[in-house]
């Protein structure tokens, strides 16, 4: 049995709500089949008020073991590092996190806010938000670069705005069933099993990408969203087109450019004027190229692909 305590700081609840959509396994399976015991959760927990405070104190004092501490939302430090702008159970949430992180077996950060600071930490970051162990690309975050939990691991980050439900539930199962040894983490502590491949891997617009056929505007079934619409699929590490969302689709399949939400820079360019849903270009060439390709080769490939482009590449083959 693994005790899970789930807390929310500067959060929108999106990861919790996403989590409820999990299918393999479902939230209920986690509890009934995988022996996960939810000590408390802000949306699902039974207790209120003093009972919650008592439970939290019991956790901090080691009376109740916390095998997995799940943290959703940014760590709010405002004003002036006090954390008073996000109080929970009678005190700054960040103080609970400090204490609980010392006794937790594993700490799992779910969603971008907990991982990198996310939208709340976007400039000018009025809530002085940090991620649990990162701020954007910088390691450290709230708990510090050297932090390891009782089990000797740094914070396991499951980014995404929100995280895909199966990313969360499968990591919880891996931890609860003793498979944590198989977990390999990348430089941002993301489990590689989900975050080594790209959003583009599995995208139905991939053939259009190859032949440089662009989606000219919204509301089109065809073309690739990279060239004009600002899609970050080729440079974002995620499994959105392998492990589909809500079992049926992904942003890019539906026609929405990938925003790169699993990467530390999300939201890219701080959403400055002119950067939303538009590819940033220099003399017609995208400023940011697919991962691992240089400008020269990209230019070469463009010429070849355009020449080789078959007639259907410009047509709508996802016909009504």
């Amino acid at each position: 049995m693994a005790n899970v305590l789930w807390l929310q700081g500067g959060a929108c609840s999106g990861n919790t709500i996403s989590f409820l959509n999990a299918e393999e396994p479902t939230v209920v399976d986690l509890i009934t089949d995988f022996g996960i015991n939810v000590l408390w959760h802000p949306s699902l927990g039974l207790q209120l008020g003093d009972e919650v405070q008592q439970l939290l104190h019991d956790c901090v004092n080691g009376k109740v073991p916390v095998d997995i501490l799940v943290y959703e939302g940014s760590v709010v430090n405002a004003p002036n590092g006090t954390g008073e702008w996000n109080r929970f159970a009678g005190r700054p949430m960040k103080d609970w996190l400090t204490e609980l992180s010392k006794i937790a077996g594993f700490v799992v950060a779910v969603g971008d806010c907990a991982t990198y600071g996310g939208i709340p930490a976007m400039e000018p970051n009025p809530s002085e938000s940090l991620g649990v162990q990162f701020l954007k690309r910088n390691k450290g975050g709230f708990l510090g670069a050297d932090y390891v939990s009782q089990a000797g691991l740094p914070v396991i980050n499951i980014p995404g705005c929100p995280s895909h439900p199966d990313w969360i539930s499968q990591i919880l199962v891996a931890v609860a069933t003793g498979r944590v040894g198989d977990l390999t983490l990348d430089e941002f502590h993301r489990p590689q099993t989900f975050f080594r491949s790209f959003t583009q891997t599995g995208c139905t617009r991939n053939m259009h990408f190859s032949y440089k056929a662009t989606t000219q505007d919204f509301g089109q079934r065809t073309g690739c969203l990279f060239y004009d619409m600002g899609c970050r699929g080729p440079m974002t590490h995620s499994s959105c087109n392998r492990i589909l969302w809500n079992r049926v689709s992904s942003k890019t399949r539906a026609g929405m450019p990938c925003l790169g939400c699993t990467e530390p820079e999300f939201p890219f360019h701080d959403l400055k004027p002119g950067t939303v849903f538009k590819t940033q270009t220099v003399m017609g060439v995208p400023k940011e190229l697919p991962a691992g390709i240089n400008k020269k080769d990209y230019a070469l490939m463009t010429v070849v692909s355009k020449d080789a482009s078959p007639s259907w590449a410009g047509e709508d083959f996802f016909t009504v």
Binding site: Q8, G14, L44, P124, R221, M256, K272
Partner: protein, 531 residues
């Protein structure tokens, strides 16, 4: 007898961190304060950004009502830019809204509300054992089914938006998707699954058609007695247990109700303007004043915010959202005589504090005002009058009652799509002011945007919970939930489940409320920046 103060932190199972203080005398609440304890600063963040930044940022205000924020953000820019929105896009946006709410209702009922029926307070009720069997967290037979089945409607959302939550598929001028026949038919199949696996057999215990025959309170009671399937469905069972344990006896609230209306009509709102919106929405807007038994028309200019008791330094006057100059107060100590919440106090200029949410929508749906083609449904208003006014029980019933109507509206959207017609008409960006409103599952939601020199000058949001959970206003009038708490019984101060019931019946969502408003100058807040 001495007044006993009870501080409850956190109340939990409302999204975000709600704390409540109640003063208790002779086992009854005599005064109450609700406070929101989180500040993230979304409106500060939006300042100076791309006009379309709201489409990405505002759904992240709340992961539960993301589609509603996206809807409001899109319609706000549509009115600011003077776009044309093709009918397919209006239907596709409405569809997103509808399935989000249809998903939300069972999740609210089972995950947030009904698990309290298993509280030890009710162990002497003849319904208790069955309630534990059905509604216990995670293991209850209905709980498990509802959690898994409620993930279905948003699959339809994903077919249009790629994912739920947090897609930004609605944009000024239309939507990003162009679904094919298979998306539509698959979506239809998904909804059929939801209907035949949960809505009809588990919730209603009858067909949608039979349920739709219910028009009055008497019809409802007759339906309840008609068959064991009705009496023992989750709805029937809940209704009977609720009366047994007295949920119809408390949690009334302010007695005035507001909805701005929602679901623009696909043929009547293709050239969206702020002025043209009232007549163009299918679910009509309005205020129901239970004290005078009158319905009033509304428009957004009636909205006022007051920060006398909120942690902002903006004086004590009521201001319209366009005129907010919000300044978060640096030190946010609790002062129940003074400032004690990040939520502002919202009111209607002439009619005062209002409750928003399903009960409000249904009481307004029972009014004879509005256009002849707009939605009318008198059931909840009839029950309201015959049951002697509002209560937790009626509020909860009103919420679940909507599911059937919204389901029908989904079917209508799916039928109305013309797949070869446009889904998007590219607009021209321009400066201006816009307003977009809708109804999130938990109530009236509006965005106000001002675009100047190609960037956001001011972005303001009033979320449903801002209305409901707001603190006292400039006249010291209590907020709706505060008002609903006064007079409730507290049987055992170590187990104040009654406070939980009230808060949950409003389905409050604090993460919505704690939007930071706009600072006078963006620079003033820069000193809070982390390095």
């Amino acid at each position: 007898m001495a007044v006993q103060k009870l501080e409850i932190s956190p109340v939990g199972r409302v999204e975000g961190d709600l704390d409540v203080r109640v003063d208790i005398e002779d086992g009854q609440v005599v005064n109450a304060w609700t406070k929101a304890e989180l500040f993230r600063g979304f409106e500060v963040i939006l300042k100076g950004k791309d006009p379309q930044a709201g489409l990405i940022v505002t759904p992240r205000i709340c992961g539960i009502c993301g589609a509603s924020h996206l809807t409001s953000a899109s319609w706000a820019l549509d009115t600011a830019w003077g776009t044309e929105v093709p009918r397919n896009a209006i239907l596709a946006r409405n569809l997103g809204q509808l399935v989000e709410t249809i998903q939300s209702h069972p999740r609210h009922f089972y995950a947030l509300y009904a698990i309290d029926l298993t509280n030890k307070k009710y162990k002497n009720s003849p319904f208790y054992e069955e309630a534990c069997k059905r509604f216990s967290a995670f293991t209850g037979t209905s709980y498990e089914l509802a959690i898994t089945t409620s993930a279905k409607p948003v699959e339809l959302y994903a077919l249009f938006g790629g994912q739920w939550p947090h897609s930004s598929y609605m944009v000024p001028g239309g939507v990003m998707c162009a679904p094919t026949l298979t998306d539509i038919t698959r979506g239809w199949g998904i909804m059929e699954y939801f209907r035949t696996n949960w809505l009809e057999p588990v919730w209603l215990g009858c067909s949608l058609e039979r349920y739709e025959e219910i028009q009055t309170y008497e019809d409802f009671l007759e339906w309840l007695d008609e068959s064991p399937n009705h009496a023992n469905s989750d709805l029937g069972f809940y209704w009977r247990m609720g009366l047994d344990i007295g949920l119809d006896k408390y949690g009334g609230g302010p007695g005035r109700y507001l909805t701005w209306g929602y679901l623009p009509h696909e043929d009547k709102y293709q050239h969206p303007t702020i002025e043209g919106r009232n007549a163009a929405v299918i679910m009509k807007g309005g205020v129901y004043d239970s004290f005078t038994d009158m319905h009033h028309m509304v428009d957004h200019t009636f909205a006022r915010e007051n920060t006398s008791h909120a942690w902002y330094e903006e004086g004590t006057a009521d201001v319209h959202p366009f005129d907010r100059t919000t300044q978060p107060k640096h030190i946010n100590t609790n002062d129940y005589e003074g400032k004690y919440s990040w939520s502002t106090a919202v009111s209607h200029k002439d009619l005062g504090r209002m409750e928003v949410g399903s009960l409000a929508r249904q009481l307004v749906a029972g009014g004879k005002h509005g256009e002849s083609w707009q939605h009318y449904d008198g059931l909840i208003l009839d029950m309201f009058k015959k049951m002697g006014g509002p209560s937790i029980h009626l509020r909860e019933f009103a919420r679940m009652h909507e599911s059937v109507k919204l389901y029908r509206e989904v079917e209508r959207c799916l039928r109305e799509f013309k797949l070869n017609d446009p889904w998007y008409i590219k607009p021209t960006e321009k400066d201006g002011r816009g307003w977009g409103g809708t109804e999130a599952s938990r109530g009236a939601l509006c965005h106000w945007v001002e675009v100047e020199k190609g960037k956001i000058k001011n972005y303001q949001v009033i979320a449903p919970t801002t209305w409901n959970v707001g603190p006292r206003d400039g006249n010291h009038t209590r907020g709706p939930i505060e008002e609903a708490l006064v007079g409730i019984p507290i049987e055992d101060t170590s187990n104040p489940v009654e406070v939980g019931h009230v808060a949950r019946s409003f389905d409050s969502c604090l993460v919505c409320t704690v939007h930071a408003h706009d600072a006078k100058t963006g620079k003033e807040l820069a000193r809070f920046r982390t390095n």
